[in-house]
């Protein structure tokens, strides 16, 4: 657990597996060690009678005993962290809330460790057909808990590894004020980072991918 920054990576006329391979080679050249695989998935449940209310139910293999749910009613988001059994409960609410199988999305791929950093190269696929949607790279700096204290270091690291595609400014997720929440009156940039923050960043990017109607430049099925 530390501070995590999630960045989309453009394909630039290459296929998904090619880009992942390039990045993996770059990481290995930097003496990173492979550290297994990861998987983050997101499901949407919606209620036909309450059009705007959606429940996003997400899992992160980094926290295998938890379910992260985010209820979005169009005005605000309510995050909820629960045990895994919550998934069984979501099956029970099926007459009211139904899972949209076609919008189920996941990001998975290899993990690498490099000193205090953890890097995950994720290929994003949607629905049961595993339609390839793009690439998300997760960079985790583990010794620190406050984004403001390690952003410069992380930016420098990402520039070394992602080159011109590295973010140069703090991602908007950390700098937007959180409305409707009197407890969090300041920005997430200065707040203690929590696992739900990783999941919320994934949700933002997943929603962008879901909205994307056109396939990425070079559409390739995985495997």
């Amino acid at each position: 657990m530390g501070v995590t920054i999630l960045v989309p990576y453009p394909l630039e006329k290459k296929t998904g597996p090619e880009v992942i391979e390039d990045l993996a080679k770059r990481l290995l050249a930097m003496q990173a060690t492979p550290a297994g695989q990861f998987l983050v998935d997101g499901d949407i449940f919606d209620n036909p009678t309450m059009n705007k209310t959606k429940i996003h139910v997400m899992h992160n293999s980094e926290y295998p005993a938890s379910v992260f749910s985010i209820l979005d009613n169009g005005q605000k988001q309510i995050p909820l962290i629960t045990d895994l059994i919550f998934d069984l409960l979501m099956l029970k609410v099926s007459p009211t809330y139904q899972s949209k199988k076609s919008l189920k999305i996941e990001s998975k791929g290899p993990r690498y460790e490099l000193g205090d950093f953890l890097i995950k190269l994720g290929s994003v696929t949607m629905s049961q057909n595993q339609n390839f949607k793009g690439i998300l790279i997760e960079v985790d700096y583990r010794p620190c808990l406050v984004p403001a204290l390690c952003w410069d270091l992380m930016r420098e690291f990402m520039q070394g590894f992602l080159g011109q595609h590295a973010p140069t400014t703090v991602p908007a997720y950390f700098t937007t004020n959180i409305p409707m929440n009197p407890v969090q009156h300041f920005q997430r940039y200065n707040d203690t980072y929590q696992p739900i923050d990783t999941v919320q960043q994934y949700l933002e990017h997943f929603n962008n991918f879901r909205k994307q109607t056109q396939a990425p430049m070079m559409m390739t099925p995985r495997n």
């Binding site: 990861f38 998987l39 209620n47 309450m50 293999s61 295998p64 209820l71 909820l80 962290i81």
Partner: protein
């Protein structure tokens, strides 16, 4: 990067766990009550019978609120001219400031099955889920309606897998703590994976040991619903 260490999707591993019966989703339950004047005797008896003999019984002071979620009317239910029963969800948290860091508990309880006279306990589906405090806002925004709330204060004993609670129910959030009745609720329960019927027999034997102080029985809620209130 072999495919062997590929993490499985959380839902798949959960369904797999359900198939091999390792998820505790059934509650075996016996209930009874005892008058306030006699409760000390029962507590002494439980202290002798239960596992935590050296220490005083664990005390708890919880707040519970029950929400209902009604399914929307569709063609099928309109034809039947009756709404499907609502889904009931209970949220419980400790009122004790020392437990303020503890997670809230979300609980789903299914329809109780009484079975025939040979079955020693009531059995009902039950999911106990630890969750973050945002659960109340979450359920409200989901469209759940608050049905009732109360606070409950009492003692918790353990005997092997069995949980015994002796507790008193109060009207919720009342400064004077107005009790609902002059008696304590006694519950003997085990949360176990489905198919653990052997535990029901242990519970029957234990309940025998508490007689005649308290008679623990399978309580039929449907019968209670027809009893008029005072």
């Amino acid at each position: 990067m072999s495919s062997e260490n590929q993490p499985t999707a959380a839902m798949d591993s959960l369904l797999q766990a359900l198939q091999v019966n390792i998820i505790p989703n059934q509650e075996y339950l016996l209930q009874g009550s005892i008058l306030d004047t006699q409760v000390q005797r029962l507590l002494h008896r439980l202290k002798g019978l239960c596992d935590n003999v050296e220490t005083a019984p664990e005390q708890f002071f919880d707040y519970e609120v029950c929400f209902s979620l009604r399914a929307p009317m569709n063609e099928q239910t309109l034809q039947m001219q009756q709404a499907p029963p609502p889904l009931l969800l209970r949220v419980r948290r400790s009122n004790d400031p020392a437990d303020s860091h503890m997670p809230f508990q979300l609980r789903y309880i299914g329809n109780p099955e009484l079975g025939d006279a040979k079955r020693p306990t009531l059995v009902r589906a039950s999911f106990d889920i630890s969750c973050s405090p945002s659960i109340i806002d979450f359920l409200t925004e989901m469209g759940c309606r608050m049905e009732f709330e109360y606070t409950v204060k009492g003692y918790l004993f353990r005997k092997g897998r069995m949980k015994i609670t002796v507790s008193k129910i109060f009207k919720a959030m009342n400064m004077n703590q107005e009790p609902l009745s002059q008696s304590y609720l006694v519950e003997l329960s085990v949360l176990a994976p489905s198919g653990s019927d052997a535990v029901a027999e242990d519970m029957r034997v234990f309940a025998e040991k508490l007689k005649p102080l308290v008679i623990l029985e399978k309580i039929d809620y449907k019968r209670l619903a027809t009893v008029p209130y005072d």
